[in-house]
């Protein structure tokens, strides 16, 4: 793991959200790149195609055809990504959803819209092994 220059993967179906995340990661946090993948059945293949093991997966929850929870279970089926942190990104944080995300095996959740000022710090804490539930 490279805690100085972590490798982040983002799965999202809204173009604007991708653009925001790219600016936050590449310009605000100054990381070389944000890997953006698509919600597809071959999700694990896509990740392997990157050629690196990501430090943090940021999964949007409300996506089609596969939502964040389904993508998480695909990832957890492969021991190669055991050490990767998986974070849920969600716009509608209902109580039911939080418990679902916790029991579903996510390492944390971050509410949308992003609080850009605290986001870099949240990522750092996640990489340090902290469970982060930044949802209110």
């Amino acid at each position: 793991m490279n805690s100085q220059r972590p490798i982040l993967v983002y799965v999202e179906d809204d173009e604007n959200s991708i653009l925001v995340m790219k600016m936050v990661v590449e310009r605000v946090m100054g990381l070389p790149t944000l890997y953006v993948l698509q919600s597809r059945a071959d999700f694990v293949q896509q990740v392997k195609g990157l050629g690196v093991v990501p430090d943090v997966f940021l999964l949007d929850i409300q996506m089609r055809p596969y939502d964040g929870v389904e993508l998480l279970s695909m990832l957890r089926g492969d021991p190669q990504f055991n050490k990767s942190k998986v974070i849920a990104l969600t716009a509608s944080v209902t109580n039911e959803e939080v418990s679902l995300l916790k029991s579903g095996g996510f390492d944390g959740a971050i509410a949308k819209p992003l609080n850009i000022e605290v986001f870099p710090d949240l990522i750092a804490r996640i990489i340090n092994g902290e469970q982060v539930w930044y949802i209110a």
Partner: protein, 620 residues
Amino acid sequence: MNKIFSKQTEEEHKARKTIMEVAYLSLFVFLLLIMILTRSSSLASTAQRISFIAQGLIALAALTSFIFSRRGYTMVGAYFLPYGILLLTFVLINVTGVGSINALFFVTIIVVAGVTAGIRGVVIFGALSIVSAIGLYFAQNHGWLANKSPVSFVTPAITIAHILGDTFVLFFLIRIFNKNLISALEANQELRQLQTSLEQRIAERTRDLAIASDVSRQITRVLDMDLLLPELVEKTRQGFNLYYVALYLYDPQTEELTLEAGTGREGALMKSEAKSFPINARPSVVAQVARECKIEIINDTQQSTIHLFNPHLPDTRAEAAFPMLVSDELVGVLDLQSETVGRFQESEAQIFSTLAEQIAIAVRNAQLYRQQEHVAQELERTDLMKSQFLASMSHELRTPLNSIINFTQLIAMGVAGPVTDEQLTMLHTSLSSSRHLLQLINDVLDISKIQAGKLGLYIEEDVNLNDEIKAVIDMAEPLLQKQNAMLEQPIRFIQDIDHDLPLTACDRRRIRQVLLNLLSNAIKFTEQGSITLSAKKKEKEFIFAVMDTGPGIPQEMQARIFEPFVQATDDIKHTQGTGLGLPISRSLVEAHGGELWVESKMGEGTTFFFTLPFRPLITQ
């Protein structure tokens, strides 16, 4: 005479029996006492001994009569006593001779016979006495009786004359007595018949009322008219033993009457023919009743000009129709038909009238119920659409808004190039407006969930309320600073918080939401003085209070501010908000089992309180 010798009626028999039995027993007891008293003095002379035996014989006869009478052999018993006295007479004669035959002996027999066995007894024992008197006279004069000298014929003649005279007197006396007894008994019987018929009528009326109330009870239970009315008319028909019962409903819009339910096959047939007719139809009993709202009773349809012969109901001979009114408004007409001329009497009309009233109320209820049901279905559909709309709004509205907020934030941070101070101010305004819009959307979602009863809490164990309060204060601090920047004298923020509030189970995000809402309200409305946040544990609950020194809330608004979309002031500066914060907060507190209320005095300030039950462990 015929009547005298005819068989006694049941009543006569019973009355006489009771009198006799008392007399028999009294006589027996009386003689027994006499005998005991006599025995105690002396029985020296023969006459005294004979008299003693005679008393015994009569006493025995009286007792025998009593026993037979008790056993039901009244007449047998009635004859025993005269026979006993007759026997006594013979005993006395044997001792004293016919010469001493006193008419009194025989008269006694006849009186006793008359009293015990009636006229028949008088006649029988009168005759027996005369025969005995003559027989005894001859017996004595022929020397058949010992130690007795012959007597002149005058003695028995006087005796017989006495007997005859007394017999006649008794005969008529008893006849008069019997007549009186019979008329008294007849009067009694008449009275009894009257009573029976009265009882019958009461029973009938009670039965009618029972049927009516049974029907009424049915009415109040069933709200569905299609089920209710057919059952109702059938029950009425059966209960009152009628030929046909029908119910017409009135439609005030078309001014038409429609057959809603009728009994039997005829009813079903006529209903299928959809018989509707205007209220001014003539001749029609039902239409007339509907027009005049007055009961119409036709007790002989063949003599009536308004009764319309119905080929489906050929046997109708009497018809009665009752208007069904609810507070003077015509609901319909209850029509009753009978095969019997003169079936509908005044006394029953009241019951039918009441029944019609009851049905009217039931029909009105059912109509309202039907309307309500329709409205409820409509509402349910609308509600479902609303939920779906809100669910999609939640996602569709927030996604672009999130982008707006984040891009604005990025630009303001200078990510896309340098920003002037003026631009920065504008960007911050844009940002705060966007955040306000987002809050609005979230509030609307919350309140709609609350109203749909779908608000669930996410209860966590061991929540540290001190941490949550601190987080809320951190969030409220910038708002306060912003407010203070516009004021000459800054508002003091006072914390009165127990620092060791015990861990409790609650939905901490929701509790934070409530606290933040109350604090930001206080900041928004206070321009001088202070705002105090207090949090204490008292017995089994926590009490939170947010106190300000703002303008206060008028008494009449204090309840209304908890209704959605209501704010206490129209002041534009203060209306920035959804008007949903308080109703949401109250619902959230109540969902936790707590209470939220306000205390306020105009010009002094406002305090919002809420309680939160202390739950050290989640109850499983």
